[in-house]
């Protein structure tokens, strides 16, 4: 260890987004010639810390050292100059430009001759960069739009590698790549390691992490948990460290009994659709049914299908009275409500006022004939949002100005006002701070008492266990386990069914 020099060191880093504490006193280091894996749940701060390293964001406090010298990048250009490159989780390319122009975006001046862009030279150089990462099948002069998603990611890789970085940050890139693409990336990482350079690798795939990385650092809720060397790898231990949070607060349900009402309100019958394979279940009145699994296990699509937004390829979804839920309109007639995981894009209109959002589902109730009067709208909101304690200036405030938790409350107010009996909540507490989380849990308990049914889809095992009458675990689109509340199942057990 002592003979290996530390390439990058992060010390006491803090970062807040509003109330959310994204990073709290995080410190770790990357050695030369090391591939460091960074793991943690969604929102654990791993993307935040890497984007601070690549200078896409700035930390609130904390210091970084690059090869022993203090490293304070002002912007990503400086970070790249200092040899730190990042391949982003999101798409970071421009569809309308050619591959070559994408690779040299921001660096066009390298190829300017007499005031003109020497496209040929640029293409030649870009092809070299592509060949260097063994992506010869991509031609530099092709428009990016002609490439598939994997190849576009490889273009980003080529762009990052062209600057010959000392540290390469790979953020969830492999999920976007196919086998060939992954191999290319692994090859690059290996080469970097051999050349005494460093890689920070972020992935959800534990197996991948364990096979690729020399060391793994685990973050959880913005806090550094532990660093484990390759020799000490053990999947269960890593998993436990990653997701195994103690249920310290008492904001989940305290009762231990599951719902015993036999009345079925929603039924899914041998449904297959995209990632979902042959799923059947029944939702009972007054029941909270939790769905858990990994991010890509198909549970999010399941919520979509249950609300009639996506037609199942096989099987059908029916309401309690046997009506087939064929579209969202029918679903709403059956008093079903759905809050998407992508709440800001799909359930809310963030550019609209709170009023517009809450009323959207209920104009049939609010309108007098074809007319809608402002005072009726006000009354309606008053009625349905008062229990929710939405923090707002007035109902004309734009939803985009609200915090995540308050947005979620607006989404709930919309469906409460509509008078739904069945709530399909996909990741209802995603990106929400603890205080509002417990509000939402209380509301769910309240709704359950009123005899409403809830399907809760969540990647957070703790809340699924803490809230549900019944938990169904999906693995690769199939139901891999079902547990009743009284069985007192633990996260560790569930994780075995998930992975």
């Amino acid at each position: 260890m002592s003979e290996e020099k530390l390439m990058l060191k992060v010390e006491h880093m803090y970062k807040n987004f509003g109330i959310t504490k994204a990073l709290q006193d995080v410190s770790f280091g990357v050695r030369q010639g090391q591939i460091l894996g960074l793991i943690g749940e969604n929102g654990s701060g791993k993307s935040t810390v890497t984007s601070i390293i690549a200078a896409l964001q700035s930390a609130d406090s904390g210091t970084m050292y690059l090869e022993g010298e203090e490293y304070k990048p002002k912007n990503s250009v400086e970070a790249i100059e200092k040899g730190i490159c990042m391949i982003l989780q999101e798409k970071g390319t421009f569809d309308l430009l050619t591959v070559a122009k994408n690779i040299f975006v921001g660096k066009e001046e390298l190829f300017v001759k007499h005031g003109f862009l020497d496209v040929k030279a640029m293409n030649r150089e870009a092809q070299k960069a592509l060949d260097a990462i063994h992506a010869e099948n991509i031609r530099a002069e092709m428009p990016l739009a002609a490439l598939n998603f994997e190849d576009r990611k490889l273009v980003e890789v080529a762009r990052a590698m062209y600057s010959n970085p000392k540290i390469l940050v790979v953020d969830e890139t492999t999920t976007a790549l196919n086998r060939n693409g992954r191999d290319i990336l692994y090859e690059i990482m290996k080469e970097m390691k051999e050349n005494d350079k460093s890689v920070i690798f972020i992935s959800h795939d534990l197996d991948e992490i364990m096979s690729v990385c020399d060391t793994v650092t685990i973050l959880r809720d913005g806090v550094y948990i532990d660093t484990i060397e390759k020799s000490d790898y053990a999947a269960p231990v890593l998993r436990k460290l990653m997701v195994g949070r103690e249920v310290s607060d008492n904001y989940y349900r305290t009762d231990k009994e599951s719902c015993k009402n036999p009345e079925v309100v929603l039924k899914m019958d041998h449904v297959s659709c995209k990632d979902v394979k042959d799923v059947s279940f029944e939702l009972h009145k007054g029941e909270i049914l939790g769905f858990g699994g990994l991010g890509d296990c198909g549970m999010h699509i399941l919520g979509n299908v249950a609300f009639g937004l996506t037609d199942p390829d096989l099987g059908k979804v029916t309401a309690g009275d046997g009506t087939v839920i064929k579209d969202a309109h029918v679903a709403m007639q059956k008093k079903i409500a759905y809050i998407s995981k992508n709440r800001d894009q799909e359930t809310l209109m963030v550019s609209c006022s709170i009023k517009d959002n809450v009323c959207l589902a209920s104009y049939d109730k609010i309108a007098k004939g074809p007319f809608v009067f402002k005072k009726d709208e006000e009354k309606f909101i008053e009625e349905h949002s008062k229990g929710l304690e939405i923090k707002m200036q007035n109902t004309d405030q734009y939803v985009m100005e609200l915090s995540g938790g308050n947005k979620q409350k607006v989404a709930l107010a919309k469906w409460l006002g509509f008078g739904a009996d069945i709530f399909i909540l996909d990741c209802p507490t995603r990106g929400i701070d603890i205080g509002v989380k417990s509000n939402i849990y209380q509301l769910m308990i309240e709704l359950r008492k009123q005899g409403k049914s809830i399907i809760m889809i969540s990647e957070e095992m703790a809340e699924v266990i803490g809230m549900s009458d019944r938990v169904i675990i999906l693995k690769e689109g199939r139901i891999s386990g079902e547990f009743k509340r009284e069985e007192g199942v633990t996260e560790l057990v569930l994780i075995d069914y998930m992975v």
Partner: protein, 314 residues
């Protein structure tokens, strides 16, 4: 937080700007023309042109509220005018009114069906329709100008004009600001996916709006025939540009959503109408009129749109 405050200030300036623009133009021209702007004949001239601009802009705004657009409004008006003229000659001038409106409605309906049933973008679909109609006018008119019976012109009366203007304003306002239809239109503009996930059939609303806009074009086709007594292949040719200009001047975003306000459409239409009259009264030459319109247009777009959040054209 400070950021939000400045944002709000800017938004309120964007709201005020169209008012200021209109007031400024009215004041400027009434001073420069020595009050001529408000003379009877100049108001009459403004009103006659204003009917097209105002009604067209209202239609255009209904569409842009939901992020849709119709490039074929001008030639829809032309075709409606041509059909109106045929019927006026063949049957009677009174039968020509429903004929014109029906033509407009049918064309609007076809536009609506194309946009909602295929995945062709509104811009492309209606532009295609525009070319079809452009040819259609020539076919209907058999290539030449068609004249209506002279009695046709007796229908173009002041009460009719007032009915159209006042009716258009009242209906447009109520529709966009006071009905479920208006609320949902804006919601479609704000986030089509949200509307879908709220079980609302957005296509139904889009279709209705295309039909309404078609109907407006039909009415304008009739108005043009009643005013000029003739249908030509260039009838309605300037409608689209004027309406788009007015819509943008009024601060109505073409992507739609909650910032679509009826008053924007109204102010924009009034501004354009008075601007044209004012410039003619001032004897500003044709080239300079274009120049001034262009500059005002750019200023309006520059001020009225927060380009970070809104794209003027998708």
């Amino acid at each position: 937080m400070a950021n939000e405050d400045t944002n709000k200030k800017k938004i309120s300036f964007q709201v005020i700007f169209p008012f200021l623009g209109l007031i400024l133009i009215l004041l400027l021209f009434s001073i420069l023309t020595g009050g001529k702007l408000f003379s009877a004949s100049s108001l009459k001239s403004t009103m006659n042109d204003g009917i097209y601009i105002l009604l067209g802009t209202i239609g255009f705004t209904l569409l842009s509220a939901m992020g849709q657009m119709d490039f074929s409004i001008g030639f829809n008006m032309g075709v409606s005018c041509a059909v109106c003229c045929l019927v006026a000659n063949a049957v009677s001038i009174y039968a020509s009114i429903p004929a014109a409106i029906a033509t407009g409605l049918v064309i609007g309906c076809v536009n609506g069906v194309i946009v909602t049933k295929t995945r062709i973008s509104p811009m492309i679909a209606t532009m295609g329709m525009m070319f079809i109609l452009q040819g259609g006018v020539l076919v209907i008119l058999n290539g030449s100008v068609l004249q209506a019976p002279l009695t046709m012109m007796s229908l173009y009366t002041t009460p009719l004009k007032i009915l159209l203007l006042a009716g258009g304003i009242v209906l447009g306002f109520v529709l966009l600001e006071k009905t479920k239809y208006g609320r949902i239109s804006k919601a479609i503009g704000a986030s089509p996916e949200t509307v879908r996930q709220t079980g609302i059939n957005a296509n139904k609303y889009k279709l209705i709006t295309y039909i309404i806009v078609g109907g407006i074009c039909g009415i304008l086709g009739f108005v043009s025939l009643a005013r000029t007594g003739s249908a030509t292949n260039s009838t309605g040719g300037t409608l689209l540009f004027n309406c788009m200009n007015a819509t943008l001047l009024g601060g109505v975003p073409l992507t739609g959503g909650p910032t679509t306000k009826f008053r924007g459409a109204l102010l924009g239409a009034l501004t354009i109408s008075f601007l044209v009259t004012g410039m003619t009264l001032m004897r500003i030459s044709a080239q300079n009129q274009q120049l001034i319109k262009g500059i005002i247009f750019l200023i309006a777009v520059g001020i009225c749109f927060d380009r970070k959040n809104l794209k003027v054209i998708k």
